[in-house]
Protein backbone atom coordinates (compact mmCIF):
# COMPACT_ATOMS: atom_id res chain seq x y z
CA UNK A 1 0.00 0.00 0.00
CA UNK A 2 2.51 2.59 1.09
CA UNK A 3 6.17 3.49 0.85
CA UNK A 4 9.05 2.06 2.83
CA UNK A 5 9.07 5.18 4.97
CA UNK A 6 6.00 7.30 5.65
CA UNK A 7 5.86 10.46 7.69
CA UNK A 8 2.58 12.23 8.17
CA UNK A 9 2.19 15.67 9.70
CA UNK A 10 5.05 15.28 12.17
CA UNK A 11 5.31 18.07 14.70
CA UNK A 12 7.79 18.55 17.44
CA UNK A 13 8.87 21.52 19.47
CA UNK A 14 11.55 22.06 22.07
CA UNK A 15 11.93 24.37 24.98
CA UNK A 16 13.69 27.34 23.39
CA UNK A 17 16.44 27.57 25.98
CA UNK A 18 17.27 23.89 25.95
CA UNK A 19 18.60 22.52 22.70
CA UNK A 20 18.49 18.76 22.29
CA UNK A 21 21.79 17.07 22.84
CA UNK A 22 24.02 16.29 19.93
CA UNK A 23 22.07 18.03 17.23
CA UNK A 24 22.56 21.60 16.31
CA UNK A 25 20.14 23.88 17.97
CA UNK A 26 17.08 24.51 15.84
CA UNK A 27 17.08 28.08 14.66
CA UNK A 28 15.49 30.86 16.62
CA UNK A 29 12.32 32.88 16.50
CA UNK A 30 11.84 32.87 12.73
CA UNK A 31 10.63 29.31 12.74
CA UNK A 32 8.16 29.72 15.51
CA UNK A 33 5.32 30.39 13.12
CA UNK A 34 4.70 33.63 14.92
CA UNK A 35 3.96 31.58 17.99
CA UNK A 36 0.36 31.21 16.91
CA UNK A 37 -1.43 27.95 17.20
CA UNK A 38 -1.11 26.94 13.57
CA UNK A 39 -1.52 23.30 14.42
CA UNK A 40 -5.22 23.67 15.02
CA UNK A 41 -6.61 21.05 17.31
CA UNK A 42 -3.22 19.73 18.24
CA UNK A 43 -2.08 23.12 19.41
CA UNK A 44 -2.47 22.28 23.06
CA UNK A 45 -0.08 19.42 22.61
CA UNK A 46 2.42 21.21 20.41
CA UNK A 47 2.40 24.74 21.68
CA UNK A 48 2.01 24.55 25.42
CA UNK A 49 4.31 21.58 25.75
CA UNK A 50 4.50 18.96 28.43
CA UNK A 51 7.24 20.84 30.24
CA UNK A 52 5.06 23.89 30.63
CA UNK A 53 7.27 26.20 28.57
CA UNK A 54 5.19 29.05 27.13
CA UNK A 55 4.37 28.76 23.43
CA UNK A 56 6.40 31.78 22.38
CA UNK A 57 9.57 30.35 23.86
CA UNK A 58 9.25 26.98 22.20
CA UNK A 59 11.20 26.20 19.06
CA UNK A 60 9.30 24.30 16.41
CA UNK A 61 11.78 21.79 15.07
CA UNK A 62 9.11 20.07 12.99
CA UNK A 63 6.08 21.93 11.84
CA UNK A 64 3.83 19.48 10.02
CA UNK A 65 6.35 17.46 8.04
CA UNK A 66 5.09 14.76 5.67
CA UNK A 67 6.73 12.62 3.02
CA UNK A 68 6.80 9.15 1.56
CA UNK A 69 9.78 7.12 0.35
CA UNK A 70 9.42 4.42 -2.30
CA UNK A 71 11.02 1.06 -1.47
CA UNK A 72 14.49 0.60 -2.92
CA UNK A 73 15.07 4.28 -3.63
CA UNK A 74 17.58 6.81 -2.36
CA UNK A 75 15.68 9.64 -0.74
CA UNK A 76 17.44 12.80 0.36
CA UNK A 77 16.19 15.23 2.95
CA UNK A 78 17.97 18.39 1.86
CA UNK A 79 18.10 21.46 4.02
CA UNK A 80 20.32 23.81 5.95
CA UNK A 81 21.46 23.05 9.49
CA UNK A 82 18.56 23.37 11.87
CA UNK A 83 15.87 22.71 9.27
CA UNK A 84 14.62 19.65 11.17
CA UNK A 85 16.40 16.85 9.31
CA UNK A 86 18.05 15.28 12.36
CA UNK A 87 14.85 15.50 14.38
CA UNK A 88 13.00 13.71 11.58
CA UNK A 89 15.55 10.91 11.41
CA UNK A 90 15.53 10.55 15.20
CA UNK A 91 11.77 10.09 15.16
CA UNK A 92 11.83 7.59 12.28
CA UNK A 93 14.60 5.55 13.93
CA UNK A 94 12.67 5.39 17.25
CA UNK A 95 15.17 7.53 19.16
CA UNK A 96 12.73 10.33 19.69
CA UNK A 97 8.97 10.83 19.56
CA UNK A 98 7.00 13.58 17.83
CA UNK A 99 4.51 15.75 19.71
CA UNK A 100 1.95 14.69 17.12
CA UNK A 101 1.74 13.02 13.73
CA UNK A 102 2.24 9.51 12.42
CA UNK A 103 5.14 7.61 10.94
CA UNK A 104 5.79 4.13 9.63
CA UNK A 105 8.92 2.35 8.47
CA UNK A 106 8.82 -0.87 6.46
CA UNK A 107 5.09 -0.91 7.07
CA UNK A 108 5.51 -0.86 10.87
CA UNK A 109 4.06 1.93 12.98
CA UNK A 110 7.05 3.73 14.51
CA UNK A 111 5.19 5.01 17.55
CA UNK A 112 3.25 1.84 18.32
CA UNK A 113 5.94 -0.77 17.68
CA UNK A 114 9.39 0.79 18.04
CA UNK A 115 10.93 -2.57 18.86
CA UNK A 116 9.91 -4.12 15.55
CA UNK A 117 11.09 -1.05 13.67
CA UNK A 118 14.53 -1.40 15.24
CA UNK A 119 14.85 -4.90 13.83
CA UNK A 120 13.97 -3.66 10.36
CA UNK A 121 16.26 -0.65 10.12
CA UNK A 122 19.89 0.35 10.20
CA UNK A 123 20.62 3.83 11.56
CA UNK A 124 23.85 5.77 11.28
CA UNK A 125 23.87 8.98 13.31
CA UNK A 126 25.92 12.10 12.66
CA UNK A 127 28.52 10.91 15.10
CA UNK A 128 30.36 7.73 14.32
CA UNK A 129 28.72 5.15 16.56
CA UNK A 130 31.71 2.84 16.43
CA UNK A 131 33.43 1.99 19.71
CA UNK A 132 36.90 3.44 19.27
CA UNK A 133 38.78 0.93 21.41
CA UNK A 134 37.29 -2.02 19.55
CA UNK A 135 38.58 -3.18 16.19
CA UNK A 136 36.41 -3.01 13.11
CA UNK A 137 35.75 -6.74 13.31
CA UNK A 138 34.86 -6.53 17.00
CA UNK A 139 32.43 -3.67 16.41
CA UNK A 140 30.70 -5.75 13.75
CA UNK A 141 30.68 -8.88 15.87
CA UNK A 142 29.17 -7.05 18.84
CA UNK A 143 26.37 -5.60 16.72
CA UNK A 144 25.73 -9.02 15.18
CA UNK A 145 25.63 -10.59 18.63
CA UNK A 146 23.07 -8.02 19.75
CA UNK A 147 20.90 -9.03 16.79
CA UNK A 148 21.16 -12.65 17.87
CA UNK A 149 23.77 -13.89 15.39
CA UNK A 150 26.23 -16.40 16.84
CA UNK A 151 29.06 -18.75 16.03
CA UNK A 152 29.78 -19.57 12.43
CA UNK A 153 26.93 -17.47 11.10
CA UNK A 154 28.23 -14.39 12.93
CA UNK A 155 31.77 -14.93 11.69
CA UNK A 156 30.61 -15.38 8.12
CA UNK A 157 28.48 -12.24 8.18
CA UNK A 158 31.27 -10.21 9.79
CA UNK A 159 33.90 -11.15 7.22
CA UNK A 160 31.40 -10.71 4.40
CA UNK A 161 30.71 -7.13 5.48
CA UNK A 162 34.37 -6.31 6.09
CA UNK A 163 35.07 -7.52 2.60
CA UNK A 164 32.17 -5.66 0.99
CA UNK A 165 33.21 -2.39 2.61
CA UNK A 166 36.91 -2.68 1.89
CA UNK A 167 37.83 -3.07 5.55
CA UNK A 168 39.34 -6.55 5.58
CA UNK A 169 42.87 -5.21 5.84
CA UNK A 170 41.96 -2.89 8.71
CA UNK A 171 39.67 -5.43 10.37
CA UNK A 172 41.96 -5.94 13.36
CA UNK A 173 42.88 -2.34 13.96
CA UNK A 174 41.07 -0.30 16.59
CA UNK A 175 38.35 1.88 15.06
CA UNK A 176 39.86 5.02 16.59
CA UNK A 177 42.79 4.67 14.16
CA UNK A 178 40.49 4.69 11.11
CA UNK A 179 40.27 7.63 8.71
CA UNK A 180 36.97 9.50 8.46
CA UNK A 181 35.95 7.59 5.33
CA UNK A 182 36.86 4.19 6.81
CA UNK A 183 34.94 5.00 9.96
CA UNK A 184 31.86 5.89 7.95
CA UNK A 185 32.13 2.64 6.00
CA UNK A 186 32.44 0.74 9.27
CA UNK A 187 29.39 2.58 10.65
CA UNK A 188 27.33 1.52 7.66
CA UNK A 189 28.65 -2.05 7.65
CA UNK A 190 27.82 -2.30 11.36
CA UNK A 191 24.18 -1.36 11.02
CA UNK A 192 23.77 -3.67 8.02
CA UNK A 193 24.73 -6.77 9.97
CA UNK A 194 21.10 -7.95 10.27
CA UNK A 195 20.25 -7.11 6.63
CA UNK A 196 17.80 -4.27 7.32
CA UNK A 197 15.42 -3.21 4.58
CA UNK A 198 15.65 0.49 5.37
CA UNK A 199 18.84 2.40 6.06
CA UNK A 200 18.91 5.86 7.65
CA UNK A 201 21.98 8.07 7.48
CA UNK A 202 22.15 11.49 9.10
CA UNK A 203 24.66 13.72 7.31
CA UNK A 204 26.91 10.79 6.39
CA UNK A 205 29.32 12.79 4.24
CA UNK A 206 29.91 15.68 6.63
CA UNK A 207 33.61 15.84 7.42
CA UNK A 208 34.67 13.56 4.57
CA UNK A 209 37.07 14.63 1.83
CA UNK A 210 35.75 14.62 -1.77
CA UNK A 211 37.18 11.17 -2.43
CA UNK A 212 35.58 9.78 0.72
CA UNK A 213 32.25 11.28 -0.33
CA UNK A 214 32.39 9.72 -3.77
CA UNK A 215 33.28 6.34 -2.25
CA UNK A 216 30.46 6.57 0.24
CA UNK A 217 27.91 7.42 -2.39
CA UNK A 218 29.11 4.52 -4.51
CA UNK A 219 28.39 2.25 -1.53
CA UNK A 220 24.93 3.74 -0.97
CA UNK A 221 24.01 3.59 -4.64
CA UNK A 222 24.98 -0.07 -4.74
CA UNK A 223 22.94 -0.84 -1.64
CA UNK A 224 19.91 0.82 -3.17
CA UNK A 225 20.42 -1.19 -6.35
CA UNK A 226 20.27 -4.28 -4.13
CA UNK A 227 16.84 -3.24 -2.89
CA UNK A 228 17.65 -1.40 0.34
CA UNK A 229 15.66 1.78 0.88
CA UNK A 230 17.96 4.62 1.84
CA UNK A 231 16.97 7.81 3.57
CA UNK A 232 19.81 10.26 3.85
CA UNK A 233 20.00 13.81 5.14
CA UNK A 234 22.43 16.27 3.68
CA UNK A 235 23.10 19.94 3.45
CA UNK A 236 25.15 19.51 0.27
CA UNK A 237 23.03 20.53 -2.72
CA UNK A 238 25.39 18.85 -5.18
CA UNK A 239 25.11 15.46 -3.46
CA UNK A 240 21.35 15.44 -3.45
CA UNK A 241 21.37 16.63 -7.05
CA UNK A 242 23.73 13.93 -8.22
CA UNK A 243 22.79 10.84 -6.23
CA UNK A 244 19.28 10.97 -4.84
CA UNK A 245 16.31 9.46 -6.67
CA UNK A 246 13.99 11.79 -4.83
CA UNK A 247 14.76 15.01 -3.00
CA UNK A 248 12.69 16.68 -0.33
CA UNK A 249 13.67 20.22 0.47
CA UNK A 250 13.26 20.85 4.19
CA UNK A 251 12.97 24.33 5.55
CA UNK A 252 11.94 25.37 9.05
CA UNK A 253 10.47 22.04 9.93
CA UNK A 254 8.45 21.40 6.79
CA UNK A 255 8.94 19.95 3.34
CA UNK A 256 8.69 22.86 0.94
CA UNK A 257 9.28 20.91 -2.29
CA UNK A 258 9.63 17.29 -3.29
CA UNK A 259 10.55 15.45 -6.48
CA UNK A 260 13.46 14.28 -8.57
CA UNK A 261 16.20 16.79 -9.17
CA UNK A 262 14.97 17.34 -12.73
CA UNK A 263 11.37 17.71 -11.67
CA UNK A 264 12.27 20.28 -9.07
CA UNK A 265 14.30 22.30 -11.56
CA UNK A 266 11.72 21.98 -14.33
CA UNK A 267 9.05 23.15 -11.90
CA UNK A 268 10.67 26.54 -11.81
CA UNK A 269 9.95 27.38 -15.47
CA UNK A 270 12.73 29.83 -15.86
CA UNK A 271 16.40 30.65 -15.89
CA UNK A 272 18.82 32.20 -13.53
CA UNK A 273 21.08 35.09 -14.29
CA UNK A 274 24.40 34.97 -12.53
CA UNK A 275 26.17 38.32 -12.14
CA UNK A 276 29.74 38.80 -10.95
CA UNK A 277 30.48 42.10 -9.25
CA UNK A 278 33.50 43.85 -7.79
CA UNK A 279 32.78 43.20 -4.13
CA UNK A 280 30.27 41.83 -1.66
CA UNK A 281 28.98 45.34 -0.99
CA UNK A 282 28.43 45.87 -4.68
CA UNK A 283 26.65 42.55 -4.86
CA UNK A 284 24.27 43.55 -2.08
CA UNK A 285 23.67 46.85 -3.77
CA UNK A 286 22.93 45.03 -7.03
CA UNK A 287 20.55 42.63 -5.28
CA UNK A 288 18.40 45.52 -4.05
CA UNK A 289 18.24 47.02 -7.52
CA UNK A 290 17.45 43.68 -9.16
CA UNK A 291 14.55 42.88 -6.86
CA UNK A 292 12.78 46.03 -8.07
CA UNK A 293 13.05 45.02 -11.73
CA UNK A 294 9.68 43.53 -12.84
CA UNK A 295 11.23 40.60 -14.75
CA UNK A 296 13.18 39.40 -11.71
CA UNK A 297 11.35 36.93 -9.47
CA UNK A 298 14.00 36.75 -6.77
CA UNK A 299 17.67 37.34 -6.09
CA UNK A 300 20.30 36.18 -3.66
CA UNK A 301 23.85 37.20 -2.87
CA UNK A 302 26.77 34.84 -2.45
CA UNK A 303 30.10 36.56 -1.92
CA UNK A 304 30.61 39.00 -4.76
CA UNK A 305 28.04 37.38 -7.03
CA UNK A 306 24.29 37.70 -7.33
CA UNK A 307 21.91 35.10 -8.64
CA UNK A 308 18.62 36.37 -10.04
CA UNK A 309 15.63 34.25 -10.98
CA UNK A 310 13.96 35.28 -14.24
CA UNK A 311 11.31 33.74 -16.48
CA UNK A 312 13.40 33.94 -19.64
CA UNK A 313 17.09 34.75 -19.49
CA UNK A 314 17.45 36.24 -22.96
CA UNK A 315 14.49 38.57 -22.50
CA UNK A 316 15.36 39.71 -19.02
CA UNK A 317 19.03 40.38 -19.64
CA UNK A 318 18.67 43.90 -21.13
CA UNK A 319 16.49 45.03 -18.22
CA UNK A 320 18.90 43.54 -15.67
CA UNK A 321 21.97 45.16 -17.16
CA UNK A 322 20.15 48.38 -17.88
CA UNK A 323 18.92 48.60 -14.31
CA UNK A 324 22.40 48.16 -12.88
CA UNK A 325 23.93 50.61 -15.36
CA UNK A 326 21.36 53.26 -14.46
CA UNK A 327 22.50 53.00 -10.84
CA UNK A 328 26.18 52.94 -11.89
CA UNK A 329 26.87 49.46 -10.51
CA UNK A 330 29.63 47.98 -12.65
CA UNK A 331 29.15 44.35 -13.67
CA UNK A 332 32.14 42.10 -14.36
CA UNK A 333 30.37 39.24 -16.04
CA UNK A 334 26.89 37.91 -16.72
CA UNK A 335 25.87 34.29 -17.30
CA UNK A 336 22.47 32.88 -18.05
CA UNK A 337 21.95 29.36 -16.73
CA UNK A 338 19.26 26.75 -16.31
CA UNK A 339 17.95 26.63 -12.75
CA UNK A 340 20.05 24.85 -10.14
CA UNK A 341 18.87 23.22 -6.95
CA UNK A 342 19.97 26.40 -5.21
CA UNK A 343 17.41 28.26 -7.30
CA UNK A 344 14.82 25.69 -6.37
CA UNK A 345 15.63 26.23 -2.72
CA UNK A 346 15.52 29.99 -3.13
CA UNK A 347 12.17 29.76 -4.84
CA UNK A 348 10.53 27.59 -2.19
CA UNK A 349 12.22 28.78 0.97
CA UNK A 350 12.36 32.44 0.07
CA UNK A 351 16.08 32.69 0.77
CA UNK A 352 19.17 31.14 -0.72
CA UNK A 353 20.58 27.98 0.74
CA UNK A 354 23.76 29.69 1.87
CA UNK A 355 21.83 32.49 3.53
CA UNK A 356 19.79 29.91 5.40
CA UNK A 357 22.95 28.20 6.58
CA UNK A 358 24.39 31.49 7.79
CA UNK A 359 21.25 32.32 9.74
CA UNK A 360 21.34 29.06 11.61
CA UNK A 361 25.06 29.07 12.29
CA UNK A 362 25.13 32.54 13.86
Amino acid sequence: MTGAVEAEDLRKSYNGGKAPHGGRSPHGGKAANGGKAANGGKAANGAAGSDGVPADRRVHALDGLSFSVAAGSVYALLGPNGAGKTTTVRILTTLSRPDSGRASVAGIDVLAQPGRVRSAIGAVSQHSGAVGLLTGAENLAMQGGLHGLRGKELRRRTSELLDAFGLTEAAHRQAKTYSGGMRRRLDIATVLVHRPTVLFLDEPTTGLDPEGRTDLWAVLTELAAGGTTILVTTHYLEEADQYADQIAIVDRGRIVAEGTSDELKAGLHGDSVLLELDSHDRAEQAEKILIDIPQVAGASVDGSSVRARVADGAHALPAVIGGLEASSVPVRSVTVARPSLDDVYLHHAGRSFRQAEKVTVS
Partner: protein, 258 residues
Protein backbone atom coordinates in the same frame (compact mmCIF):
# COMPACT_ATOMS: atom_id res chain seq x y z
CA UNK B 1 17.11 -15.30 27.73
CA UNK B 2 17.51 -12.47 25.29
CA UNK B 3 18.31 -9.79 27.89
CA UNK B 4 21.01 -11.90 29.50
CA UNK B 5 22.56 -12.83 26.18
CA UNK B 6 22.65 -9.21 25.03
CA UNK B 7 24.11 -8.09 28.36
CA UNK B 8 26.79 -10.74 27.95
CA UNK B 9 27.56 -9.60 24.40
CA UNK B 10 28.09 -6.00 25.54
CA UNK B 11 29.96 -7.01 28.70
CA UNK B 12 32.44 -9.37 27.04
CA UNK B 13 32.37 -7.85 23.55
CA UNK B 14 32.93 -4.34 24.72
CA UNK B 15 33.54 -3.53 28.41
CA UNK B 16 36.10 -6.23 29.16
CA UNK B 17 38.00 -5.46 25.96
CA UNK B 18 37.95 -1.74 26.66
CA UNK B 19 39.28 -2.44 30.13
CA UNK B 20 42.28 -4.49 29.13
CA UNK B 21 43.12 -2.09 26.31
CA UNK B 22 43.53 0.71 28.81
CA UNK B 23 46.35 -0.41 31.08
CA UNK B 24 46.56 3.10 32.57
CA UNK B 25 42.98 2.77 33.82
CA UNK B 26 43.75 -0.59 35.40
CA UNK B 27 46.91 0.79 36.97
CA UNK B 28 45.10 3.76 38.53
CA UNK B 29 42.22 1.57 39.67
CA UNK B 30 44.68 -0.61 41.55
CA UNK B 31 46.93 2.17 42.80
CA UNK B 32 44.18 4.31 44.32
CA UNK B 33 42.98 1.87 47.00
CA UNK B 34 46.57 1.06 47.90
CA UNK B 35 47.17 4.75 48.56
CA UNK B 36 44.02 4.97 50.70
CA UNK B 37 45.09 1.96 52.67
CA UNK B 38 48.63 3.18 53.28
CA UNK B 39 47.59 6.79 53.93
CA UNK B 40 44.66 6.20 56.26
CA UNK B 41 46.47 3.29 57.86
CA UNK B 42 49.31 5.61 58.88
CA UNK B 43 47.16 8.66 59.61
CA UNK B 44 44.72 7.03 61.99
CA UNK B 45 46.99 4.32 63.35
CA UNK B 46 46.64 5.49 66.95
CA UNK B 47 42.85 5.83 67.02
CA UNK B 48 42.44 2.13 67.64
CA UNK B 49 43.99 2.75 71.04
CA UNK B 50 41.19 5.11 72.10
CA UNK B 51 39.12 3.36 74.74
CA UNK B 52 35.86 2.10 73.30
CA UNK B 53 37.11 1.79 69.70
CA UNK B 54 36.59 -1.92 69.86
CA UNK B 55 39.28 -3.39 67.62
CA UNK B 56 42.87 -3.67 68.66
CA UNK B 57 44.40 -3.16 65.24
CA UNK B 58 43.40 -0.20 63.09
CA UNK B 59 44.46 -1.88 59.85
CA UNK B 60 42.09 -4.73 60.65
CA UNK B 61 39.36 -2.12 61.14
CA UNK B 62 40.32 -0.08 58.10
CA UNK B 63 40.66 -2.78 55.43
CA UNK B 64 36.92 -3.49 55.00
CA UNK B 65 36.28 0.27 55.05
CA UNK B 66 38.69 0.85 52.17
CA UNK B 67 37.14 -2.04 50.24
CA UNK B 68 33.73 -0.35 50.48
CA UNK B 69 35.07 3.13 49.79
CA UNK B 70 36.88 1.93 46.68
CA UNK B 71 33.74 0.18 45.48
CA UNK B 72 31.66 3.37 45.63
CA UNK B 73 34.43 5.59 44.24
CA UNK B 74 34.82 3.53 41.08
CA UNK B 75 31.14 2.95 40.53
CA UNK B 76 30.17 6.58 41.01
CA UNK B 77 31.83 7.36 37.65
CA UNK B 78 30.05 4.80 35.48
CA UNK B 79 27.53 7.38 34.21
CA UNK B 80 30.45 9.11 32.50
CA UNK B 81 30.66 6.24 30.08
CA UNK B 82 27.09 6.92 28.90
CA UNK B 83 27.82 10.62 28.48
CA UNK B 84 30.78 9.68 26.30
CA UNK B 85 28.58 7.24 24.37
CA UNK B 86 26.10 10.05 23.70
CA UNK B 87 28.84 12.19 22.23
CA UNK B 88 30.40 9.46 20.09
CA UNK B 89 27.07 8.19 18.80
CA UNK B 90 27.52 4.75 20.39
CA UNK B 91 24.45 5.18 22.57
CA UNK B 92 22.29 6.10 19.58
CA UNK B 93 23.53 3.00 17.79
CA UNK B 94 22.49 0.79 20.71
CA UNK B 95 19.15 2.53 21.16
CA UNK B 96 18.21 2.28 17.48
CA UNK B 97 19.05 -1.44 17.46
CA UNK B 98 16.77 -3.97 19.15
CA UNK B 99 18.88 -3.89 22.32
CA UNK B 100 17.07 -4.32 25.60
CA UNK B 101 17.62 -1.34 27.90
CA UNK B 102 17.91 -3.76 30.80
CA UNK B 103 20.78 -5.46 28.95
CA UNK B 104 22.62 -2.13 28.74
CA UNK B 105 22.28 -1.68 32.50
CA UNK B 106 23.13 -5.33 33.11
CA UNK B 107 26.34 -5.17 31.09
CA UNK B 108 27.46 -2.11 33.01
CA UNK B 109 26.74 -3.78 36.35
CA UNK B 110 28.58 -6.93 35.32
CA UNK B 111 31.58 -4.80 34.46
CA UNK B 112 31.29 -3.04 37.81
CA UNK B 113 31.14 -6.40 39.59
CA UNK B 114 34.36 -7.57 37.96
CA UNK B 115 36.33 -4.43 38.77
CA UNK B 116 34.99 -4.37 42.33
CA UNK B 117 35.92 -8.00 42.92
CA UNK B 118 39.46 -7.52 41.59
CA UNK B 119 40.01 -4.29 43.50
CA UNK B 120 38.63 -5.77 46.72
CA UNK B 121 40.84 -8.84 46.43
CA UNK B 122 43.92 -6.66 46.05
CA UNK B 123 43.02 -4.41 48.98
CA UNK B 124 42.34 -7.41 51.18
CA UNK B 125 45.68 -8.96 50.20
CA UNK B 126 47.60 -5.77 50.92
CA UNK B 127 45.70 -5.22 54.16
CA UNK B 128 46.62 -8.75 55.18
CA UNK B 129 50.26 -7.98 54.30
CA UNK B 130 50.08 -4.91 56.55
CA UNK B 131 48.90 -7.01 59.44
CA UNK B 132 45.13 -7.04 59.17
CA UNK B 133 43.48 -10.21 60.43
CA UNK B 134 40.32 -11.84 59.09
CA UNK B 135 39.00 -14.22 61.75
CA UNK B 136 35.92 -14.83 59.61
CA UNK B 137 38.05 -16.70 57.12
CA UNK B 138 37.27 -17.17 53.46
CA UNK B 139 33.50 -17.06 54.00
CA UNK B 140 33.83 -13.72 55.80
CA UNK B 141 36.06 -12.27 53.10
CA UNK B 142 33.67 -13.49 50.40
CA UNK B 143 30.76 -11.83 52.21
CA UNK B 144 32.75 -8.58 52.41
CA UNK B 145 33.38 -8.67 48.67
CA UNK B 146 29.71 -9.51 48.13
CA UNK B 147 28.43 -6.44 49.96
CA UNK B 148 31.08 -4.34 48.18
CA UNK B 149 29.62 -5.49 44.86
CA UNK B 150 26.08 -4.67 46.06
CA UNK B 151 26.98 -1.13 47.14
CA UNK B 152 28.88 -0.71 43.86
CA UNK B 153 25.71 -1.74 41.98
CA UNK B 154 23.62 0.76 43.92
CA UNK B 155 26.09 3.56 43.26
CA UNK B 156 26.58 2.64 39.59
CA UNK B 157 22.82 2.63 39.03
CA UNK B 158 22.58 6.07 40.57
CA UNK B 159 25.48 7.35 38.48
CA UNK B 160 24.08 5.88 35.25
CA UNK B 161 20.65 7.37 35.84
CA UNK B 162 22.19 10.72 36.70
CA UNK B 163 24.41 10.68 33.60
CA UNK B 164 21.46 9.87 31.32
CA UNK B 165 19.29 12.55 32.88
CA UNK B 166 21.77 15.42 33.03
CA UNK B 167 23.82 14.44 29.93
CA UNK B 168 26.59 16.67 31.30
CA UNK B 169 30.07 15.68 32.33
CA UNK B 170 30.40 18.56 34.76
CA UNK B 171 27.11 17.77 36.47
CA UNK B 172 28.15 14.19 37.05
CA UNK B 173 31.60 15.14 38.33
CA UNK B 174 29.99 17.60 40.73
CA UNK B 175 27.39 15.13 41.96
CA UNK B 176 29.91 12.34 42.37
CA UNK B 177 32.43 14.34 44.35
CA UNK B 178 29.70 15.94 46.45
CA UNK B 179 28.06 12.65 47.31
CA UNK B 180 30.81 10.10 47.66
CA UNK B 181 33.07 11.59 50.33
CA UNK B 182 30.26 12.63 52.72
CA UNK B 183 28.63 9.22 52.34
CA UNK B 184 31.95 7.61 53.22
CA UNK B 185 32.60 9.81 56.22
CA UNK B 186 29.01 9.53 57.45
CA UNK B 187 29.66 5.84 57.94
CA UNK B 188 31.80 3.63 60.08
CA UNK B 189 34.25 3.06 57.24
CA UNK B 190 37.17 4.78 59.02
CA UNK B 191 36.04 5.34 62.57
CA UNK B 192 33.93 3.35 64.96
CA UNK B 193 30.51 4.96 65.19
CA UNK B 194 30.84 4.72 68.96
CA UNK B 195 33.39 7.55 68.78
CA UNK B 196 31.61 9.95 66.45
CA UNK B 197 29.00 12.62 67.34
CA UNK B 198 25.51 11.24 67.87
CA UNK B 199 24.01 12.90 64.83
CA UNK B 200 26.57 11.26 62.55
CA UNK B 201 25.83 7.89 64.08
CA UNK B 202 22.11 8.56 63.56
CA UNK B 203 22.58 9.55 59.92
CA UNK B 204 24.83 6.56 59.34
CA UNK B 205 21.99 4.19 60.24
CA UNK B 206 20.27 5.26 57.01
CA UNK B 207 23.41 5.38 54.89
CA UNK B 208 23.81 2.42 52.51
CA UNK B 209 27.58 2.93 52.57
CA UNK B 210 27.48 2.33 56.29
CA UNK B 211 25.31 -0.78 55.81
CA UNK B 212 27.98 -2.16 53.49
CA UNK B 213 30.89 -1.19 55.75
CA UNK B 214 29.20 -2.63 58.83
CA UNK B 215 28.16 -5.85 57.12
CA UNK B 216 31.65 -6.29 55.66
CA UNK B 217 33.35 -5.67 59.00
CA UNK B 218 31.06 -8.03 60.88
CA UNK B 219 31.64 -10.66 58.19
CA UNK B 220 35.44 -10.61 58.35
CA UNK B 221 35.36 -10.44 62.17
CA UNK B 222 33.82 -13.90 62.09
CA UNK B 223 31.61 -13.69 65.17
CA UNK B 224 28.87 -15.58 63.40
CA UNK B 225 26.42 -12.68 63.13
CA UNK B 226 25.10 -13.89 59.80
CA UNK B 227 21.64 -12.51 60.59
CA UNK B 228 23.02 -8.97 60.79
CA UNK B 229 25.03 -9.46 57.63
CA UNK B 230 22.02 -10.90 55.84
CA UNK B 231 19.71 -8.04 56.71
CA UNK B 232 22.27 -5.42 55.66
CA UNK B 233 22.86 -7.33 52.42
CA UNK B 234 19.11 -7.48 51.86
CA UNK B 235 18.75 -3.71 52.22
CA UNK B 236 21.71 -3.22 49.89
CA UNK B 237 20.18 -5.57 47.32
CA UNK B 238 16.96 -3.56 47.42
CA UNK B 239 18.93 -0.31 46.96
CA UNK B 240 20.81 -1.89 44.03
CA UNK B 241 17.58 -3.09 42.43
CA UNK B 242 15.88 0.28 42.79
CA UNK B 243 18.77 2.20 41.23
CA UNK B 244 19.15 -0.40 38.46
CA UNK B 245 15.49 0.07 37.55
CA UNK B 246 15.92 3.85 37.70
CA UNK B 247 18.99 3.62 35.42
CA UNK B 248 17.11 1.44 32.93
CA UNK B 249 14.10 3.73 32.89
CA UNK B 250 16.39 6.75 32.44
CA UNK B 251 17.05 5.63 28.84
CA UNK B 252 13.43 6.48 28.10
CA UNK B 253 13.77 9.88 29.74
CA UNK B 254 16.94 10.50 27.74
CA UNK B 255 15.09 9.66 24.52
CA UNK B 256 12.13 11.87 25.39
CA UNK B 257 14.53 14.79 25.69
CA UNK B 258 15.88 14.21 22.18
Amino acid sequence: MNVLRQALVIFTGRYLRELYRQPAVIFIALLQPIIWLLLFGALFKEVAKIPGFGTGSYITYLTPGVVIMTAIFGSSWTGMSYIEDMQTGVLDRFLTAPVSRAALTGAMLAYQAVTTIVQSAIIIAIGWGMGATFPGGLAGVAALVGVAVLIAFAMAGLSNAFGLLTRQREALIGASTTLVLPLTFLSGAFLSLRLVPHWIADVARFNPVNWAASAGRVAVAGNGAWGTIGSYAGFLAIAALVTAIAATRAFGTYQRAL
